[in-house]
Amino acid sequence: MTDLSADAATPVAPILRPSIGRLLLAQPLAVAAAFVIIGMAVLALLAPAIAHWLDAPADAVDLLGRFSPPSPEHPLGTDELGRDLLVRLAYGGRISLGLGCVAAVAASLIGIAIGLPAGYYGGRFDALLMRVTDGVIALPLLPLLIVLAAIDLGKLGLPPEWAHSPVASFWRVAILVALVGWTTVARLVRGTTLSIRERDYVRAAQAIGARPARIMLVHILPNLATPVLVALTLSVGNVILFESVLSFLGLGIQPPWPSWGNMLTNAQELIWSAPMLAIWPGLFIFVTVIAFNLLGDGLDAMLDPRGRRD
């Protein structure tokens, strides 16, 4: 028989234990991952600076300098149009990382908004939301993407110069990912809510007469923080991968803007003649995604409110 009073007195939000140092040491991989991510972010932010320092803008085509090997002017060499590879990787990082974070956060917010009430209220409401979720999961992305690609944003009242710029393709992809990516978080949140709902302290709060909104926000939501945070870091990685799949299908970020995904897709056919053009963006994607995964994993271990194993 569990001790009711002990549970009811449990703090409602996880507290980070004071010995952060010990925590971090226990998760060396996560720490390394965090440094890698910070490094990538710095590279991306410094993209204009790098371009300026090398005097090589991201879209400076040099037909005579195609595929040149690494040199002082071009530390990583040039690509199929003579553009500096390092600069393009840096700018590509802006797109890929930016897209990853924006889309993942948006998807998570939607997922919580749907999964939490579904798990809490249950019944027909839950059934309805879950069927909607299932429907969205089964929805084919491709016609949706094509239709979105065809909609002339200028007609929707947006200024034509913006609507036809590559910025629009960024937001198109981000919105699409958010609209279809919330389902994993929703299912996760719902499942966790279902379990937490049966816990004694929640039942106690209900017995006391707390309003559902309060229960959801104060008791359940903080306990969701950990799994959602973990799912979020994992999904950043997935969005970056998804962006490369979109480029593979021809529906991703359009040229001349570089993104790691479209650089990788373009390099597919060049893998024999200029392998480094494929290896670098592939490596960047790989390292970044695995870093986000490890970070999420480490956070999972660190923030577990039940404490760690002795």
Partner: protein, 314 residues
């Protein structure tokens, strides 16, 4: 229980109907019907030809009418002809579904066979080297774009080493089919292992902290008895639900892998059907895939309720 099932079935039917309409509408809204595209490739086509062809394929009617006509036929089990392959749509779907089950089933089994034990071991040795190594390897698999992994696999195993064929489905014999399945199954499994492993590891770690485990240890049981005999049974609860959900996703195939390896499965079929405005094939394929997803979700919920007595089905 019966009430729950009936309610679920009604819900599923509603989802299928709504989804069929949404998909039909999306395909119809896509700009550029293949007949329109013929104009650019064949200069001798006249407006009269276009109008005639559209009337022949029924495309001159409004979307709603076409959808209702399709729905009416579908309810009677008549799913029409595929425009892309000039065969009855049902014949193509059943053929491709078999291919998909083979491919995804093997990949799924392989991934589960590796991920479950590995995740459990990683949880048991949490924080130690084995845990980190298993983690890293698992994550490596899910951190690469699928098409990238596929082309690398083809280059290494088919071109450089020449051990396995670069794609296709083989000549029908079991041995040859297995040879052609090796690389795509391998590529798909690598992608699934990471996710499954994480869940298993998380769930097992969660369980290993429980009081009853401490009790079992106190009783003097060996670590492996504790892990496999007691912990896993409880850890399996969330894992089984994830497995069931993934199993459902299995039927929609894997577009990228199928494209790279020329494996004729549901993923590529549905994609080609949608892009080719082949309404009959696309809708039948998607409906089957969705129905199976819903079925597996239902089974997952049932399993969850059966395994975890604290959860009540409402």
């Amino acid at each position: 229980m019966a009430v729950f099932l009936i309610r679920r079935l009604i819900d599923c039917t509603i989802v299928l109907v709504v989804m069929s309409f949404v998909v039909y509408a999306l395909i119809g809204l896509m700009p550029g019907d293949p007949i329109d595209l013929m104009v650019t490739s064949d200069p001798t086509l006249s407006a009269a030809d276009i109008a005639r062809l559209k009337a022949l394929y029924g495309l001159d009617r409004p979307l709603i009418d076409r959808y209702l006509a399709w729905a009416g036929d579908a309810l009677q089990g008549k799913f029409g002809y595929s425009r892309l392959y000039v065969q009855p749509a049902a014949a193509i779907v059943s053929d491709r579904l078999g291919n998909t089950v083979l491919l995804m089933g093997l990949a799924f089994a392989l991934a589960a066979a590796i991920a479950l034990p590995a995740g459990a071991i990683a949880a048991q040795k949490s924080g130690r080297l084995a845990d980190h190594v298993i983690n890293l390897v698992a994550f490596a698999g899910i951190s690469m774009p699928q098409f990238w992994l596929a082309i690398l696999a083809i280059i290494v195993f088919a071109v450089l080493l020449g051990w396995l064929p670069a794609g296709g489905m083989g000549n029908g014999s079991i041995g040859d089919t297995l040879r052609h399945l090796a690389l795509p199954v391998f590529t798909l499994a690598i992608a699934s292992i990471g996710g499954l492993l994480r869940y298993t590891r998380g769930a097992t770690r969660e369980v290993l902290r429980q009081d009853f485990i401490r009790t079992a240890r106190a009783k003097g049981l060996s670590e492996s008895r504790v892990l496999w005999g007691h912990a896993m049974r409880n850890a399996m609860i969330p894992v089984v639900t994830i497995l069931a959900l993934d199993f459902g996703a299995l039927f929609s195939g894997a577009l990228i892998t199928e494209t790279m390896f020329s494996w004729l499965g549901m993923g590529k079929t549905i994609y080609d059907a949608i892009m080719g405005n082949d309404y009959n094939l696309a809708l039948l394929g998607l409906l089957i895939a969705t129905a199976l997803v819903l079925l597996c979700n239902l089974l997952a919920d049932l399993a969850y309720a059966w395994l975890d007595p604290r959860v009540r089905l409402r």
